[in-house]
């Protein structure tokens, strides 16, 4: 048999293997779907929590004017990066419009509904890979959202509604934990989940810190406890914070907890640790192997960030500028995500026309050889 050279566009970046695959080898398309499934469901949960917390916070404020309401909601929109899109569809940012936009709006790709649809569509693409229990929960939350709308939510009470969405997400996490094999697919799923979580935690902290404490020197000044509680609750961190510090809520400590905690599962450092674990198992299956993602430029830079988070104190971080630090961390994570996506999940699209030509020529050659 003569060897055939592979046109570069068709060779998967991870290389060509003619050996039987390790039991964990999976289709790149499947890996991508698991990754997005994990990301989107995590995003849906985070947005549901963010809305829930901010609706409750408004209740504490009592009566505030339109401007106050707007000033409350715009940062929320900013923290999910959807401020511009929102004002394409709505003139006024108030509780009704923002919750509708962030929960149900079909044209908002980051609405809870859109995220759940995307998670479910990805699950459907890999229906053969995930457990029935996982699929059933995604399907249930989809049916639940489809049967709701903004009016119904406000009529029945937003608290119960967002609780239910979060519960579905937690159910999914639990069922995944209990029914999904710890193969490569698990790592892609976790990779997506922790990437999203790290992103949301840093954004929520960044936006609120910026508004509540515009100048670094304000640290330690008079603070609005309710606002800082809301930051913690937006990341499910309030109780954990209390247990850890057993003290009043201080902005610096909030930042310390959400950035540097090595035990709280939504802190930046913890999320990066989880990403690091998955990273070591993705691709070659051998940690630090010659093709392992850790050896790439993005991987090296990521590793440095992990080391820094273990070494730095919150004072070091604030001295460098919390906003600048978080922005840098997001960029590093973003580059890592692109690298892993491009290398393991993305299909270089096949040029059908040239493929067809290639095989037709091959067939002609075969026929000519036969007739000789």
């Amino acid at each position: 048999m003569t060897s055939v050279s592979f046109p570069p566009s068709l060779v998967h970046p991870a290389g060509v293997s003619f050996e039987r695959p390790p039991a964990t080898a999976m289709l790149s398309r499947v890996a991508a779907s698991l990754y997005w499934m994990g990301r989107y469901l995590e995003r849906a949960e985070n947005i549901a929590r963010l809305l829930d917390v901010n609706i409750q916070l408004l209740i504490d404020f009592g009566s505030i004017d339109d401007q106050g309401v707007k000033e409350h909601w715009v940062p929320v929109l900013r923290s999910v990066g959807d401020e511009e899109v929102f004002f394409q569809y709505y003139a006024k940012a108030d509780s009704a419009s923002v919750t509708e936009f962030m929960t149900f709006h079909r044209q908002n790709p980051n609405s809870v509904f859109s995220c759940v649809c995307a998670a479910r569509e990805n699950a459907r693409q890999v229906r053969d890979q995930i457990s029935f229990e996982m699929w059933e929960v995604l399907n249930e939350v989809y049916l639940f959202l489809q049967a709701s709308d903004a009016q119904k939510v406000w009529r029945d009470g937003p608290g119960a509604f967002y609780d239910q969405v979060k519960r579905y997400s937690h159910l999914f996490q639990g069922l995944t934990d209990a029914t999904f094999s710890r193969t490569e697919g698990w790592d892609f799923l976790q990779f997506g989940k922790y990437l999203e979580r790290a992103d949301k935690t840093t954004r929520i902290l960044d936006v609120k810190y910026h508004i509540l404490l515009p100048r670094a020197t304000d640290v330690g000044g008079a603070i609005d406890t309710a606002q800082w509680q809301a930051v913690l609750r937006s990341t499910s961190a309030l109780e954990a914070y209390r247990r850890f510090y057993v003290t009043e809520i201080l902005p610096k400590k909030v930042a310390e907890f959400l950035v540097l905690s090595d035990s709280f599962p939504r802190s930046l450092r913890y999320c990066l640790g989880a990403l690091h674990d998955s990273l070591g198992r993705i691709g070659t299956g051998e940690e630090g192997g010659p093709d392992g993602p850790e050896r790439s430029a993005a991987g090296v830079e990521f590793r440095q960030l992990c080391d820094e988070l273990a070494r730095l104190s919150i004072d070091d971080v604030i001295a460098r500028g919390l906003h600048e630090f978080l922005e840098m961390a997001q960029a590093v994570i973003g580059r890592l995500a692109s690298h892993v996506y491009e290398r393991y999940m993305h299909h270089p699209p096949v040029d059908m026309a040239s493929e067809i030509r290639f095989h037709q020529q091959e067939q002609q050659q075969q026929q000519q050889q036969r007739s000789l």
Partner: protein, 492 residues
């Protein structure tokens, strides 16, 4: 009692004899259901529908921008087949698939059956799905049809007749398995008492049949790499594809996941290219390989046919099997059985007239309003004229088509399909609805028929069309382990 007002209306009813007695093999089911309240039964029915919805046992409705998903309607009253009846059906199906497979081998090699003039050569050579390119192609173990779904009906006398063979990509097996799972939840006790043969081995048997035909090349590996090739998530049968792949524990792939090099097929994984040995393909021949068949197919894999031809990958079903489920060829299956096996057909076919034969054509054209006309290569209940129920305009339209292209049409007398008690809601209780049966036959190291199959039911009152695309639903099908006892006293 739920069956008190049930009427058979002069049709052959699966559960009740003409005199109103419950047929012996239905005794357990009739007693179990009759003891229920309407409201209780309705709850069971709704619980099953909810479970299907939650589990996403749905199909996507085409031409619906909302992407609406529906469950395939399911009726909880099980269809029961006695052990004695099934024994005959099973033998008949095995005989039939054996002959059809021999026929495919013959027409792609020596064409003896054509040379002996048992079947006119023109009928085969002009068939839309005859693949000239595959003449003298050697398929592994001489198996062309690995999976077959044969549609059976019962006439006014309860006689089983073959309505059509599906030898390309028969669908519905997943519903057979899901229906049983649903009934296990709804009527566990009735199911247990009735003594029903399980259907759950289907996926394992299917996988074994695939592994049986793996090319020799996989030797040295633990097992051949079998994959299921789907047109993708937007295909209406995607649920079934994912379901079967999951049950078999094999990857489900789309065309874009595969690449052919050096006459071998590879799938693109996170660990690079991995060889594929057997493809359970759920894509029709035409779309399989754009370098050979339809060049506009975006679903297929360029080079796939040549890889199969080189013997490096096995396709199941093989290419070119569609010629044997051409409705014109259907007419000749009994003759094939006689020719290849020297036996009489165990299962009868429906009387068929061929528009391509002058004498038959005259009869067809003179009796269009009494006949069912079918085009030779359509499936899913499309391309069909139901003469007795058709308008004058529809009849004239078909008349013109038949005259223009006689090769493409056959005609049959309408068969009064058997009826089965079917739930029509709490207000109406049970009414008779027409049904058919699609058993699934697997051809591996031996031929096996899954006990039962998919019973399809025409849910619209009076309708004879059981296709899901046209108002059909399905039922669980029970094949009993033991012969049934004596008949019981009348209850309806």
């Amino acid at each position: 009692m739920l069956f008190d007002d049930y009427a058979t209306d002069g049709f052959f009813d699966e559960m009740f004899s003409a005199d109103g007695t419950v047929r012996p093999h239905y005794r357990v089911v009739a007693e179990g259901l009759n003891g229920m309240e309407g409201v209780e039964y309705q709850q069971k029915q709704e619980a099953v529908e909810m479970a299907f919805m939650r589990g996403g046992v749905t199909f996507t409705v085409y031409n619906d921008t909302q992407g609406t998903e529906r469950i395939f309607p399911f009726d909880c009253v099980p269809r029961v087949i006695s052990a004695e009846e099934w024994e005959v059906v099973e033998r008949g199906l095995i005989q039939r698939i054996t002959a059809l497979n021999l026929f495919l081998h013959d027409i792609y090699h020596d064409q003896k059956i054509l040379k002996d003039r048992v079947i006119p050569a023109a009928h085969v050579l002009s068939a839309k799905h005859f693949r000239r390119e595959f003449m003298h192609f050697q398929v592994p173990k001489d198996i062309y049809v690995h999976i077959c779904g044969t549609d059976l009906i019962r006439d006014h006398a309860g006689r089983y007749l073959v309505l059509e063979d599906n030898l390309r990509c028969p669908s519905g097996a997943s519903y057979m398995l899901e229906n049983r799972a649903a009934i296990k939840r709804a009527f566990p006790e009735i199911l247990r008492q009735a003594g029903v043969r399980p259907v759950d081995d289907y996926a394992q048997a299917l996988l074994s049949a695939m592994q049986h035909v793996a090319p020799a090349g996989y030797q040295g590996k633990d097992h051949p790499n079998v994959v299921l090739l789907t047109p993708g998530v937007f295909n209406s049968a995607y649920f079934e594809h994912a379901f079967l792949a999951r049950q078999m524990g094999i990857p489900i792939v789309e065309g874009r996941d595969l690449v052919v090099r050096d006459f071998a097929v590879y799938m693109r994984t996170t660990a690079g290219l991995v060889p594929v040995d057997v493809i359970y393909r759920r894509i029709d021949d035409d779309f399989l390989d754009p370098s050979v068949f339809r060049a506009d197919s975006l679903l297929g894999v360029p080079g796939l046919v040549n890889a199969a031809r080189a013997g490096n990958v096995t396709l199941a079903n093989s290419i070119g099997t569609g010629v044997a489920d051409d409705k014109l060829i259907y007419y000749y299956v009994s003759k094939m059985i006689k020719y290849y096996l020297g036996e009489d057909a165990i299962l009868d076919s429906v009387d068929t007239y061929l528009a391509s034969e002058a004498k038959d054509r005259t009869y067809i054209l003179e009796n269009l309003e009494k006949l069912v006309v079918k085009s030779a290569n359509e499936a899913g209940g499309y391309g069909m004229l139901m003469g007795p129920w058709a308008s004058a305009a529809e009849i004239e339209e078909f008349r013109a088509q038949i005259v223009a292209n006689p090769r493409n049409f056959i005609a049959q007398p309408p068969i009064s399909l058997s009826r089965h008690p079917t739930w029509v809601g709490e207000g109406g209780g049970f009414e008779g609805r027409h049904i058919d049966l699609r058993p699934y036959i697997l051809y591996g190291d031996k031929i096996s028929v899954n006990p039962g199959g998919l019973t399809r039911v025409a849910l619209r009152k009076g309708s004879l069309v059981v296709n899901s695309s046209q108002g059909g639903g399905s039922k669980d099908t029970w094949v009993l382990r033991q012969p049934a006892g004596p008949p019981t006293a009348p209850s309806a």
